[in-house]
Structures are given as C-alpha cells and as structure tokens.
C-alpha cells in the first residue's frame, strides 16, 4: 500500500468587529430581533447604493500587514452573482481579481511543539449573507437579514497542510491572530469565525494533486479536525477500493462525525463575477497604510519568541501566556506590577496564570479580562510569597479569598492570621508534640530511613494549617531527629 499524503487548504470567514455593516451603515450587533438591523441597502431596495465602511477596510489592512502580505494600493470590489432568498441583491459584494491582501504567512504550532508555516493565498473583503431559518415557521422558510452586509475577510490558505491536526492548528493560529488584532471577536458559536476545508489525497508528495472536496461551514476547531480526519480516511478508502473521488461540496455531520455530499461539481454555480460598477476601485494612500502599520500591536509569535528569549520561559509557558491577547496583557501587567520583566518572576507569574487563575476562570466561565483577581492583586499575592510571609500553599487559599472579594493579599493575611510561623520556640513546641506522638517513625528515621522526614513535614504543616516556615521546620526536625 502506498503512503497517502493528504493536502488541505482552508478558507476562513472572519467577521470583522466593526460597529456598522460593510456597505449600509446599519448596526452589526449579534442577537438582535430578526430583521431589526437592516438598512435600505441590506434589503436591496431599488436605487440604493453601497457605501464602503472605512473601519472594515482598515481592519483588512491590519490583517494584511500582520501576516506580512502585500496590501494592495488599489483593490476592486466584484459581484458574485447567485440567487438565494437570504441574499437580497441577488449578488454578494466580494473581491475577485484584485483582493486587498495577497500572500502572507502565519505560523501554527502543533500539540507536539512542531511549527507549521501556513502560507496564505489572499485575504479579501466581502459582505456576509443573511440567514434562512428553516425551522422557525411550519411549512415556510423565514429570512433574517440582520447578518446581511456584515463585513468579513475571507482568508484563503495555500494547500500547504497535510493532516487534520495541522488544519486545526492553522485555524487556531489564524483565530488567535485576528482576535489578537482586535478585528474579530472570534466567537465560533455565533459564527464570527467559520472555516471551509478543501481536502484531497494523493499517493505521495510528488504525485499530482488529487480531486478535492470542500467541507463547508465548520465552526469549531474540533469539528475541523474531526471532519478533515474523516474526509481523508474516506477518500483513501474510496481510492483504495478503486473508486475515483468526485469533486463536490460536503457538509460535516457533527453528531455522526461524518461528511456527506451536498452538491457535485455539475451543480456548482457559475457566479459570473465582474467588477462592481457601483463601487470605484478601493484606493489606499501610502500614509494610511503606514499609520495602520505603526499602530499594530506586538504580534503573538513575536511576543512568544521574546518571552522565550528574554524571560527564559519554556515553550509551554510562552505558548500559554500568548494564547490570546488578554492573557498576554494580564501577564505583562502582572510583571509590570512586580517591578518589571525578570526571568524568575516570569515563570512564577506564568505558573499562577496556568494554575489557580485558569482553574478559577474556567470554573466561573469568565474571560481573563473580567477576572476578579486582577494583575495588581496577583502581583500583591506573589510579593507576599516572595517575601516569605506566607507559603506557596497558603497562597492558594489567599488567592481564593481575593477571588471571593475579601480584599488584597496583605489584608487577608492579616485578617486571617496566616503569616508564616518562623518563631523557633512556637514551631519547636509543635514539632516536639508530633515527635512524641509518633515514636515509630522516629525510630525508623533514626535507623536510617530518612524518607520519613517528609511525612513529619506534612504532619507539622497540617497542625499549623500550612503556616510553618518550611526552612525553619526542616532545621528543627533534623536537629531533633539527628
């Protein structure tokens, strides 16, 4: 059997986080009453004309610059013609021969730490269609035009991906980038970020490309992985059984984890693209592009590399604190509150973010930007631990108390009397009591089995509710057992 190679390219539909639609001036907020956000242009009333939204254009340029693509000084809107009830004009305004962004690249990291370079073909501006609601009314399809005219960029990758994991990683990387740039809210459930995957297989890397199938409308990272995985296996199965692949559009069934054919090539539309005569070419001034470039934030990959280089963070930690813009900002703000970036502290802060904070946020279903324990508060807590006023273990309780709104770390430690017991006399009394109550392990230790030392530490810690200073305790135990 030959070694099949899968070839995958993605098309990502990224809804831009503008306040207004791409051409109509109507609002774009999600979840409004059906048809409450529909301008004259969105309803395609006769005589209405599209007026481009400059905010959306700037966002597309941000993306183009962030991926290192070529931002077209002159791009062109085109009409994609097809009939559908949720497409009021009978055409979608998109870009075709002259997109606003050509080329560019995104780095995607796989779970095994390997990086994949995802080369982009293009990114173009277009408007979203409305929604057809097939189940809202019995025997009728309802149309909601709230989404009609919402600005998108469609990001098209080259067919440079070779596994389901790579496809999912590429989707994640682009998702991270567009949310990082603040041009997309990234909400997959609400459809702000959707993916189509083009999949084919071939008998080896040097063989010509196989016939591809397009899987439409994948709205989660997991679905992309599952759908692509299924599709690769299906195509290999078909080819090995001697059945050729039909070029077709397929849909992913989330419950069965399968793809099924929606329409074949012969049913494909002829979209009759042509330049939109209502819209002059989109011309960008050099100064405008320069201004957008100057305002770009440090990008996630650059920041991750910098953390590894300057702060000595591990791959894992660096990934973690650059997973999204708000986590990264939280990390930076905490470090700043602690007096600046310093390798040892960076590791400590990363650990807190990955540990207690992530767990608490997850349990409460809150985004990090709305964490009840803010960067200042976390920095205060870390300062208490660094100063030796409380142990790491007590620190976790203090974290929970800050989360619960009991004040800052210093206040809670004072109020609860949680300061570390460093006083020899106070601690010695506890140690003596434990030793007296446990003659057997004492004998064991004295017979050379020093492993029981840890057990004694645990006993004293329990008795002192974790407040014993570990160094003092260690010294006292060794003195008395020795």
């Amino acid at each position: 059997m030959s070694a099949w190679q899968a070839v995958i390219g993605l098309e990502l539909h990224v809804q831009l986080a503008t306040r207004r639609k791409l051409f109509s001036g109507a609002a774009t907020a999600y979840g409004a009453e059906p048809n409450a956000q529909v301008g004259l242009v969105d309803a395609a009333l006769p005589g209405t004309l599209p007026v481009p939204n400059a905010e959306a254009v700037r966002m597309a340029v941000r993306f183009g610059l962030a991926v290192g693509g070529r931002v077209a000084r002159r791009s062109e809107f085109a009409r994609k013609n097809y009939f559908y009830p949720d497409l009021p004009k009978g055409y979608q305004i998109s870009q075709y021969e002259h997109p606003i962004v050509a080329g560019g690249e995104v780095r995607a990291r796989l779970d095994d730490g390997r990086d994949v370079r995802v080369a982009l073909v293009r990114a173009h501006l277009e408007e979203d269609a409305g929604k057809s609601l097939h189940d809202a009314f019995h025997g009728a399809t309802a149309i909601d035009l709230n989404r009609a005219g919402t600005p998108l960029i469609e990001v098209v990758t080259t067919p440079c991906l070779h596994s389901a994991a790579e496809a999912a990683a590429a989707m994640r990387a682009i998702h991270r980038l567009v949310t990082w740039l603040g041009i997309c809210d990234g909400n997959l459930q609400e459809g702000s970020f959707r993916c189509d995957a083009n999949v084919s297989v071939r008998p080896g890397p040097d063989a010509p490309l196989g016939t591809r199938c397009e899987i439409k409308n994948l709205n989660s990272f997991r679905f992309v992985e599952k759908a692509v995985e299924y599709e690769i296996e299906r195509q290999i199965r078909e080819l090995e059984a001697g059945r050729p692949i039909r070029q077709e559009t397929r849909l992913y069934d989330e419950t069965r984890h399968q793809t099924r054919a929606l329409r074949g090539k012969e049913e494909a539309h002829d979209y009759r693209y042509f330049p939109d005569p209502d819209l002059p070419p989109l011309v960008l001034a050099e100064a405008e592009i320069d201004a957008i470039a100057a305002a770009l934030p440090e990008l996630p990959d650059a920041r991750r590399d910098r953390y590894q280089r300057e702060l000595g963070l591990s791959d894992y930690d660096a990934d973690l604190v650059t997973a999204d813009r708000s986590t990264s900002e939280y990390f930076e703000a905490t470090l700043a509150a602690l007096g600046g970036p310093e390798p040892k502290r960076a590791k400590t802060v990363a650990n807190w973010i990955a540990g207690e904070l992530a767990a608490a946020l997850n349990a409460a279903q809150r985004p990090i930007a709305e964490s009840p324990v803010g960067p200042e508060a976390l920095a205060g807590l870390i300062r208490e631990i660094e100063a030796g006023r409380i142990s790491q273990k007590v620190g976790k309780d203090v974290f929970a108390a800050i989360w619960a709104g009991e004040g800052d770390a210093a206040t809670i430690i004072a109020a609860r009397g949680l300061s570390v017991i460093r006083d020899d006399a106070a601690l010695a009394a506890q140690v003596d009591a434990i030793l007296a109550a446990n003659p057997k392990p004492v004998a064991q230790y004295r017979a050379g089995d020093t492993r029981v030392l840890g057990w004694f530490v645990g006993q004293v810690m329990r008795a002192t509710r974790g407040q014993a200073d570990p160094a003092t305790l260690d010294r006292l135990l060794r003195e008395r057992l020795g």
Partner: protein, 480 residues
C-alpha cells in the same frame, strides 16, 4: 411661457404668482394631455400640498419655488409609487426619496406626477412600458423616443416646464431630440444616482429635460453635486451653470464628428444638423472636421456592458421582499422563475439573458472584458479629440421620431437608434441635445458633447443656438 423657471420662481417667492395656481395649471394640462399616455402616476394631492406649503411661506422657498415638474418613474419618491414602468414594481412604494427628488423638492419644485419610461429604462421608443406606448406630441402615431419618453412628451406638450430623466445610452438626449426640446446628460458622477433605480450602474446618469438651455441650467444647478450616499458621485465643485449661459460660442472650436454622420443617419437629418451648426459658426464658433474611429464599436460594446450590469442589477427582483410575486409557488425555483417571467417584459428579459451570457464562465473574456477594452479606447479617442476641440457635434439620433410599432419586432434596428448617443455614456462625458429644426414636421436634435464636468460649455452653446434660431420655441399643434 416666455420667462425661464428661475424668473417664474422669483415671482412665486415675491408673492405675485401662487405656486398653487402653477400646480393647478399643470394638473389641468396633464389632464388635457392624457392621450399621450405619458404619466404613470398623477399626484394631484401631493402637488397641491407641496404648492400650498410654498405659498404659506413663499419668501423662504428655493430657487425653483413652485415650479411644477415630473420625475421619470425611475426615481424613488417617498410614499409615491415608483414603478420603473414595469409590472415587477407596479405596486412598489419607496420609503425614501432619491437624492435628485430630494434636492428638487428642497429647491421648491412641485412634483405633479411620475412619467412613463421604457421598462427599467431599457428602450429607445418608450414602447416597452407596461402601461403601453407613449405618444409623441408632434405626431401621436410616432414614438417620443426613450427611455425618458414620458418626461420628454410632457415637457414638449407644455404640461410642465421641466422634467427629470435618466440617460444610460441616450435616454435623455434621444427623446429630447424626438420631442423638440433640450435634454442634458451630465458627466457621470455629477448627479447622484442614489434612489435612481439602476439599469447599468457604470453608465446611468440623471439628467434634465426642458424647453430651454436656461431651464436646464436652473434644474441642473439644483441637482448637481456630491452625495455621500453614492460612492460614484464626484466631489469636484459644481460650476455656475446659470452664469455660463451667457458665455456664448465665440472662439469655441467645435469638432464635427464624422462617425456621427455615418451611413445609418438620414441625410435630411444630417443636413438639418449642419444648418444648426452653421448658426453656431455664425455666432463665432469654428467648425472642424474630426474623426473618432473607435465610435463605430460603441454600439456593440454598449450592448455587452449595459446588459451585463443590468442582469446583475435586476437580480434583486426575486419576489421575496417587495414587488411582484408569483402566486402559490411550488418551491423556490418556481417562485423565482414565475415571478420574473411574469414581472418582466420581453425587452428586459432579452437584456438579462444577454447580460447573463456575456458574464458567463468561458464567455467573459471574449465579451465583457473585450467590451471594457473597447470602452477604454473610446474614452481615449474622446480625450484625444478634446485636446484639439472644445465641443463635439453631430445629430443626436440618426432619424426623426419613427412610428409606434415600426421597430418593435427588430431589436437591432431599435438599438441602432442609439448609435450616436451611447459612446458618450461609455466615456462618462456630458452631452446635450438641442432643438435643431425639423424634417417632415418632426423635430431634429443637435447633439453636443464636452469634456468631463464642462456642462457649462454645453449650456452656453445651447443658449447661443437659441439666440440664432427659434426651433426651441416651436410647439406641437394642440399643445400650444
């Protein structure tokens, strides 16, 4: 009416003439001119209300205070049915005004109704209107031209002094020529297209029809200028068209375009147009023969580009949100198919089919892209010509008005009626048709074209011709 509309409006503003009286007179004339079948909708109540509002505070009214007018029924009018002379929109009432409508109302003009047109402005004879053919006031057995045929007939019949029109390939100029009035198509982008129902977006331009250059100037002054709601509207400043009327043609170099006197042009029409040109020469213009060989390709290029854009622009008429909807559709395809089969007339369907074909995969390069190349060459040809001359001239139409029904069975013969007008649209230039005499009792139009945004130059030449002729003062029998 011997005074121009601005002078009349001044009398309304100073209270010596009542807007209501002007409206009543126009309504009465509209009634008398019913046989022309030129009005789709008469809005007597709206006209009286608007006139009364002006009379209530005449001093505050604008430059066109109380001037009655009709809008081509392609301009959206808030609360007033706007049909595009199509069954598809027979009951469509827009919730907003077109910019042209809004600006004329703001200037004080009083809309008395909506004028018939070729369905969706597709035609050169006004015979494709769903309400039937419009008759030419000069001879009711003849067409008024198209597509702004209703507007032209109503102005020629004296119902209103001024009307709006739209010109995609000659739809203001050719009916103006056929009806013996003045019709101005401004530079593409000079007047907002917002609210004007689209036929071919890159060619459509709103224009005005009136009985004099001065009235055209006043009306154009009211509607010209940038509109943020139309991205193709041009931001450059608007000239003082009224002041330009007095500029004359002394020293102007007028290029007489050889191709506009080509084989298809009736020699009697050509001869009459030369008579008019000699009057301009007598007024101080210099006539120079010029050739623009690419103009021979204007008709084929136009009949690729215009239908292509139309096929897409008219896709919105699907029966889902407004307009005609087929009864009891079996499914979505049936809804679309029957809605459009029932709602559109034959000429509109022909152009949708043509346009769909030329944009189709495998044909796009051969037709649409090629036509765009021709379009650029034509624009270049004009630019070259205008390096030497100030204006270009020729007959507006190759013939005088033809008989109703004469060309309806021969689309190519009908398309040839636009032979001298479409090139100007392809190049986006301004042009005017001015009364230039008569052949067999029917009016002849002189077409003048100018470089972009030189509307003032056109109006000056038209005014100069008026001073040396009385063709524009002639009135059809029965409408004097």
């Amino acid at each position: 009416m011997s005074i121009d509309i601005a002078a009349l409006a001044a009398r309304v503003r100073d209270g010596t003439v009542r807007a209501r009286d002007l409206a009543e007179e126009a309504l009465a004339r509209a009634e008398a001119a019913r046989s022309l079948n030129a009005l789709v909708t008469l809005d007597a109540d709206g006209a009286r209300g608007a006139a009364d509002a002006i009379d209530a505070a005449p001093a505050r009214a604008g430059a066109l205070a109380g001037i009655p007018l009709v809008h081509k029924d392609l301009f959206s009018t808030r609360g007033l049915r706007t049909t595009a002379s199509s069954r598809m929109l027979a009951d469509y009432v827009p919730p907003f005004d077109a910019t042209v409508v809004e600006r004329l109302a703001a200037a004080g003009a009083v809309t008395i109704g909506k004028a018939s047109l070729d369905e969706f402005a597709m035609g050169s004879s006004n015979e494709t209107a769903d309400t039937g053919p419009v008759r030419n006031p000069w001879d009711p057995t003849c067409v008024p031209g198209g597509s702004s045929g209703g507007s032209a007939a109503l102005v020629a019949a004296g119902v209103v002094p001024v009307a709006t029109g739209t010109d995609t390939g000659g739809s203001v100029r050719q009916p103006a020529a056929f009806c013996g009035i003045t019709g101005l198509k401004p530079t593409y982008g000079r007047v907002s297209r917002f609210g004007m129902i689209a036929f071919a977006s890159s060619l459509d331009q709103a224009g005005v029809l009136a009985r004099s250059a001065a009235d055209c100037a006043h009306a154009l002054a009211a509607i010209a200028g940038h509109d943020p709601r139309d991205p193709t509207s041009h931001p450059c400043p608007v000239d003082d068209y009224v002041a330009a009327l007095g500029d004359g043609v002394a020293g102007r170099r007028i290029g007489v375009v050889r191709e506009w006197f080509g084989d298809g042009v009736d020699p009697a029409v050509a001869a009459q147009v030369r008579v008019a040109l000699e009057r301009l020469e007598a007024a101080g213009a210099k006539l120079i023969d010029v050739a623009l060989p690419t103009l021979d390709h204007a008709i084929p290029a136009y009949y690729v580009i215009a239908p292509a854009e139309a096929s897409s622009n008219l896709a919105r008429y699907d029966g889902v949100r407004y307009g005609h909807r087929a009864a009891d559709p079996a499914d979505l395809a049936d809804l679309y198919t029957r809605t459009r089969a029932e709602g559109f007339g034959a000429e509109v369907k022909r152009r949708i089919l043509l346009g769909t074909f030329v944009l189709s995969s495998g044909y796009y390069d051969a037709y649409y892209r090629q036509a765009q190349r021709v379009r650029r060459l034509i624009a270049d040809d004009f630019a070259r010509a205008f390096a030497d001359v100030d204006l270009l001239a020729g007959p507006t139409a190759p013939t005088v008005a033809f008989r109703i029904g004469e060309k309806t069975s021969d689309p190519l013969a009908m398309y040839a009626a636009d032979v001298n007008t479409v090139a100007v649209n392809l190049a986006g230039l301004p042009a005017i048709s001015v009364p230039a005499g008569f052949v067999d009792g029917l009016p002849v139009g002189l077409q003048l074209a100018a470089p972009a945004f030189a509307e003032g130059r056109l109006l000056a030449a038209a005014a100069a011709l008026e001073q040396r002729s009385d063709w524009h003062r002639a009135r059809p029998e029965g409408f004097r």
